[in-house]
């Protein structure tokens, strides 16, 4: 029972994790991208279209990442160079993405797509507990196992990662030391967009293998909560995503078992936890890295 919930939770966690991981980089650089939902929706649809036309889900994934980067580019330019309010631009992206994907996907609603199926790892899949828990999934899940250490290294052990964290904390000081604040921020936002695109594609061509209008169903917003919940750290984002995913998997099972507890009240838990974590982080750790990136949401305006 527990293994099944955790294994199901892992799959449900993939889109949350990918989107939130990208958002960690964007927010660490000081740019809030509230528009993940819009990016994921558009990418989910493009993945279906390209997979259908090319016959290869791999091209679908690539196209979805491209779309994510493209939409993030709009958000990045508007927020970084034009100093627009990041929350407002993000809302615009959500609204636009919802509309565009609904209109473009009108004739594809409900049609199956030949997506990416499960690919259990030979031998390892038969290990007790670990096998069914971690190694009987689709290739994207295995890709995530690589992504966690990779992004950790990128953020904490490379020059670019240091620059991202620096421009998110104090862009003026970073600029003095020769960091090109705006370009660093843009690259972080683009990375975030690409990962959000992959998250959307995962939903449509791997997880459910069909397109439905508004199928992201708030996951882009949940990913934002997750970033706060995980205090802007890639590794914690993974475990947070798994927890969020497990809660939704558990909820389905409880519902099926006819349990008394309301699934709606249960679904509130992640959000309540997120607020609690946010309050705690701001209250107890105001000046530590574990808290909010200090220049999050503020445009960098060069003075000369």
């Amino acid at each position: 029972m527990l293994t099944a919930v955790l294994a199901g939770g892992l799959r449900a966690a993939v889109p949350l994790f990918l989107a939130a991981l990208g958002e960690v980089f964007a927010e660490r650089s000081g740019v809030l991208n509230l528009g993940l939902e819009g990016i994921m929706l558009t990418a989910a649809l493009i993945a279906v279209l390209v997979t259908n036309h090319s016959g290869s889900p791999l091209w679908g994934l690539v196209a979805a990442i491209g779309v994510g980067v493209g939409l993030a580019l709009c958000h990045g330019v508007i927020c970084i160079w034009l100093h627009a309010n990041q929350v407002a631009s993000g809302i615009a992206l959500i609204v636009f993405g919802t509309g565009l994907s609904a209109l473009m996907g009108k004739s594809y609603v409900g049609s199956k797509v030949q997506g990416i199926g499960d690919w259990p790892v030979p031998y390892i899949k038969d290990l007790p507990v670990i096998g069914p828990l971690l190694f009987r999934h689709d290739p994207v899940v295995y890709f995530i196992y690589l992504l966690i250490p990779l992004t950790w290294f990128l953020l904490y052990r490379t020059r670019w990662g240091l620059e991202v964290r620096a421009v998110g904390e104090d862009p003026a000081a970073a600029a003095v030391t020769g960091v090109r604040v705006r370009w660093v921020r843009l690259t972080a936002v683009l990375l975030g967009g690409g990962l959000a695109g992959l998250a959307g594609a995962y939903l449509s061509i791997v997880y459910s293998q069909l397109w439905l209008e508004n199928m992201v169903a708030g996951r882009g917003l949940i990913a934002l909560a997750l970033v706060v919940f995980a205090s802007w750290d890639p590794v914690r984002v993974f475990f947070g995503a798994w927890l969020f995913g497990a809660v939704s998997a558990l909820q389905l099972r409880l519902q099926a078992a006819g349990a008394e507890i309301s699934p709606y009240l249960l679904s509130m838990l992640p959000y309540l936890l997120t607020i609690a974590v946010l309050v705690y982080a701001t209250w107890r750790l105001p000046n530590r890295m574990a808290g909010v990136p200090r220049s999050l949401g503020l445009p960098y305006i060069a003075t000369r």
Partner: protein, 342 residues
């Protein structure tokens, strides 16, 4: 004046740009915009539906605008709307025998109190601990929507509803009076009065002056002896209360019961409306009417052209983008880039 030019420019650009998106998809943009605008503003029935849609948007636009006066972003109008709807429905369901004159004011009052408290949480957290109000109000949306879902699927579900997630119908005493034969209701007048009152407060009282000072710099305000924390809390309370009224009047006058899906993202639309209006309460009225027309047009697109309702979101989203882009070029001349002001 700047706001008017900027808003009109972004409307024109968004229509042009969305035409460029519609054309290659095999949709005739002229037909689309004709369907949207001709029916929403062209005849009496269409216009009355526009006003019906504009009513909750007006409240939500004001709910976003007031905290924006002191520099806060209220993303939580959607949740505050749901909390208000739940409170009003609770009164209507549990005191069905009261007369209209008592019942309706009680429903609206309960909604305002509940929504005010809900919004006030974010205000208190921001004022006392510095917690980011964007995140708190965003989380609040999920919690409130889920709570309404819980109510209509569980304890308040009408046993006679054949599995539909909704409460029993309200008694006629709980239905807000309609104006004439249309579906336009008293909520519109309440919203208009609220907008005018808020304009008066902002324009002619010291409260309005204090809020302008806080917006430019809370530190300066503190030096001037203004307790900005109190303003943070109260603007969020008033904003939350107004968004709650949107929910209360919508379920009372339009739905006649509480059910899931009472709002087609009115709360998020309110953010766009408030920004397009430059957070000015009287402009919010006009913009709410315009956006209400677009949304009513979305229904017509669905019925007459078989296009998804969300097609209008393309126009809305682009409008917001152009507003933000244009805001940069307008404000650059005025002052060195303030992020929010348009």
């Amino acid at each position: 004046m700047h706001t008017v030019v900027l808003t009109l420019t972004s409307v024109v650009f968004s229509i042009l740009a969305s035409s460029l998106i519609l054309l290659p998809l095999g949709t005739n943009p002229l037909l689309v915009f004709e369907t949207i605008f001709l029916e929403s503003f062209g005849d009496f029935y269409g216009f009355s539906e526009t006003v019906v849609k504009a009513t909750p948007i007006l409240f939500c636009g004001l709910a976003v605008a007031i905290p924006a006066w002191v520099g806060l972003m209220n993303i939580g109008a959607e949740g505050q709307l749901h909390v208000g709807a739940a409170a009003a429905a609770g009164i209507a369901l549990f005191f069905p025998n009261l007369s209209t004159w008592i019942l309706i004011p009680t429903m609206l009052g309960a909604a305002m109190v509940a929504g005010g408290l809900w919004g006030g949480i974010a205000g208190v957290l921001k004022a006392c601990l510095g917690v980011n109000e964007v995140m708190v109000t965003l989380m609040g949306n999920f919690i409130a929507v889920l709570y309404v879902d819980h109510l209509v699927h569980g304890p308040w579900k009408d046993p006679a509803s054949y599995g539909w997630p909704q409460t029993a119908s309200f008694t006629t005493a709980a239905i807000l009076p309609h104006l004439g034969v249309s579906r336009v209701h008293l909520g519109l007048l309440i919203g208009l009065v609220a907008a005018v009152l808020l304009y008066a407060v902002k324009r002619w009282t010291t409260l309005g002056l204090s809020m302008r000072i806080i917006h430019s710099s809370p530190e300066t305000a503190a030096y001037a002896g203004i307790n900005y924390r109190r303003y943070f809390i109260w603007t969020m309370i008033v904003g939350g209360g107004l968004a709650a009224l949107a929910g209360a009047v919508e379920i009372s006058a339009i739905q006649g019961r509480l059910r899931s899906g009472i709002s087609t993202d009115y709360g998020y639309t309110g953010i766009l409306v408030s920004w397009m209006a430059g957070h000015h309460p009287l402009s919010v009225i006009i913009i709410a009417l315009f956006i209400g027309g677009l949304l009513a047009g979305g229904d017509n697109l669905q019925i007459e052209l078989g296009l998804p309702f969300a097609t209008v979101n393309i126009v809305l989203g682009l409008m917001f983008f152009f507003l933000l882009i244009g805001g940069y070029f307008f404000s650059r001349k005025l002052r060195q880039g303030i992020s929010g002001e348009s």
